[in-house]
């Protein structure tokens, strides 16, 4: 699971209203090289919840990879260094083992072999 996916996942338990972002627990993670594509990154940037991405990177131990405040899109257009950091956080870091914890209910969704399991128990749907 990449941080891109963490950025898109929310708690799906019925009735939960503050289920985003899920708190990331990373027991094991790996980095895999991905082709850098500036157009893709600029296109996807508006869809990304920046604080959630910063929090997820921190959960992996990257405290200074990204600026705390979301950059202005115009900065992203000119700042190649920042774009590369964004690329690394969003697409290159993979959580292999760990969990995702709902901020409202503390329900933990496990991540095994890189795959988050969002299946609900019968009393949660």
């Amino acid at each position: 699971m990449r941080l891109l996916t963490h950025n898109m996942l929310a708690c799906n338990i019925k009735g939960v209203t503050n289920g985003y972002p899920l708190r990331l627990e990373a027991e094991k993670w790996v980095e895999k090289e991905v082709d850098f594509n500036a157009d893709f990154l600029r296109g996807v940037f508006p869809k990304i919840d920046w604080p959630a991405l910063v929090g997820a990177a921190r959960a992996l131990g990257f405290h200074d990879l990204l600026p705390v405040d979301a950059p202005d899109p115009s900065v992203l257009a000119s700042d190649d260094e920042l774009l590369r950091r964004f690329h690394r956080a969003l697409l290159q870091l993979h959580v292999e083992e760990g969990g995702l914890v709902c901020p409202e209910t503390s329900r933990r969704f496990p991540i095994n072999k890189g795959i988050p399991n969002m299946l609900l128990h019968e009393d949660e749907v």
Binding site: M1, R2, L4, T5, N7, M8, L9, A10, C11, N12, Y20, K32, V34, D35, N37, D39, F40, G43, V44, K47, D49, L91, F109, K113, G114, I115, P116, N117, M118, L119, L120
Partner: protein, 205 residues
Amino acid sequence: MQPRFCMEVGCGSGYVITSLATMLRHESSAVQYFATDINPHAVETTSATLEAHGLQAEIICTDIASGIGKRLSGMMDVIVVNPPYVPTPEEEVGYKGITSSWAGGENGRKVIDRILPAVHELLSEKGWFYIVTLTANNPSQICLVMREMGYASRIVVQRSTEEESLHVIKFWRENTANVKDDKSLGSWISQIPLLSFWRSSRFSS
């Protein structure tokens, strides 16, 4: 169309998403793939299949797009679904085990009918949605349901065996006149041995 995000719902063996990614690999390196399945064994198989081909997709074990649909809404340029479509007793539809790979309930529509609104939420303005159906699923009625949500449709593959007839239907938003350049995807989808696949998965475990 230059797809940016593609998704498969019910990825099972991983064969479909793997061949989609293989085909699009030559067009662009910047496509992100998402694949979901309700079966925990299926998602691991998908992962292994992708890896064996040197490909990457974000795999999530979930019911259709539960937990991911809202934030991804309107982002998917291509969605492919080879759903559990075999008419079965209703109680076979559900969560656990290999039965969920084919059990479709009455008319085989139980899961399909929940997938359609999810696709409507996920699909981008110019997005394309491909779904495999059997005649028993009443494909023309599926087209009607989609039409009410604003989609045009076309049968892109039709195949028959003695027992059943299978269609792949393509849907796109009616207001987007972008059907003409779908040669590559259309021919890709027809190469997939969809029917043979679910048969082998049905009987192999």
